[in-house]
Symmetry: C2
Subunit: 213 residues, 2 copies
């Protein structure tokens, strides 16, 4: 199978969002040009990205919106409702629990924190449980994914507990590179890195045009 | 100048973090192998990434930790303290204001919100101001960058106000593709996209090994 750039997966998510808006607006057909405009890339890039996963378009006819949308949801694993927990229910964890889009594609099982002051509290769809219940919850409630919103210094230790308990994917908000077994999927949401990239592009505006993908 | 992959800039941030830890630990020299281990990439990738910006290493000797650290900070625009505001002081905005690393490299000027109930409130180093003061603050206090933590439906409108007022960079937390003049730097922090990528890798573990970059 061809190598797939990480950026392609990120763009698939954007194409999917654009398709959802089109479907809501009643559109049946779209084109790589229209998808490109809606997501800020080139039509060539759209066609190239979709080609990794098979040929969904017909030359001169384009794509069928609900078909492509369904295929992209399938590719991105959105066909099933992954079961999530949030570890670390400070302001960030609470913001995540309340996030409107989260409940749509995911089953939020519980939140966890060490702070006795917030245990038992209801935030969005979850109740805050003590860290002592972490392993039992992961096992008994078949948790697939953990959102890791604990302080930097605790991220590695908590991640190891989660993996031992059976979590298969981690969305890590702490600014650390987690060292975990290869079979565990990890995605980092690192806004300090985003700020550093901003600084780079603000100082080097000319380079932005020359960037790849 | 050679084209620089976006992922290279992201990795530079990780190399910088690793160098900071090494310097704290008293290390003077490092190697592409050591940087690779600390950041989860290959030594070849480290050398390739750094080569875009000139040759910092000496064959067989490696890199001088404080020199490479200083150069990376310079490249990433961390040599100067950018002036930031946070727009949208809900839970996410408040979590950002409180974020420990933020005050180190950036000057947090103010937060903004529409909710009269939190106006004037102090969160971390910032006070929440009304949206009516947005343009005057950006102009009078020379704001460089805005962290956009408003609801999805308001992101584009608020972003346009910020750009008209003179903001040069936007860190966007709303799950929308902002449509802005080319000279404005935009970075998206999109954790729902991170979750979708996780889903993809959990369904396709074999593909992860085959990914580029």
């Amino acid at each position: 199978m061809a190598k797939i750039p990480d950026a392609t997966i990120t763009r698939l998510v954007r194409y999917l969002r654009a398709l959802e808006r089109m479907e809501e607006a009643g559109a049946v057909r779209t084109s790589s040009e229209e998808l490109a405009r809606a997501t800020g890339v080139t039509a060539f890039q759209v066609r190239k990205d979709l080609a990794y996963f098979g040929s969904y378009g017909t030359r001169g006819v384009g794509y069928t919106v609900p078909v492509l949308r369904r295929e992209l949801r399938q590719i991105l694993g959105l066909g099933r409702k992954w079961r999530l927990i949030i570890v670390g229910m400070g302001r960030l964890g609470q913001a995540l629990a309340d996030y409107p889009g989260l409940a749509e594609g995911y089953e939020l099982v519980a939140g966890f924190d060490v702070d006795p002051g917030i245990l038992g509290r209801r935030v969005g769809p979850v109740t805050v449980r003590p860290m002592e219940e972490l392993e039992a919850t992961v096992r008994d409630e078949h948790v697939d994914v953990a959102l890791l919103a604990v302080p930097e210094g605790q991220a590695q230790g908590v991640a190891e507990r989660l993996v031992r308990a059976g979590v298969r994917g981690l969305l890590n908000f702490a600014p650390v590179v987690l060292s975990l077994p290869e079979e565990v999927a990890v995605e980092n949401v690192d806004f300090m890195a985003g700020l550093s990239r901003l600084g780079f592009f603000m100082l080097n505006p000319r380079w932005r045009e020359e960037m790849m993908g």
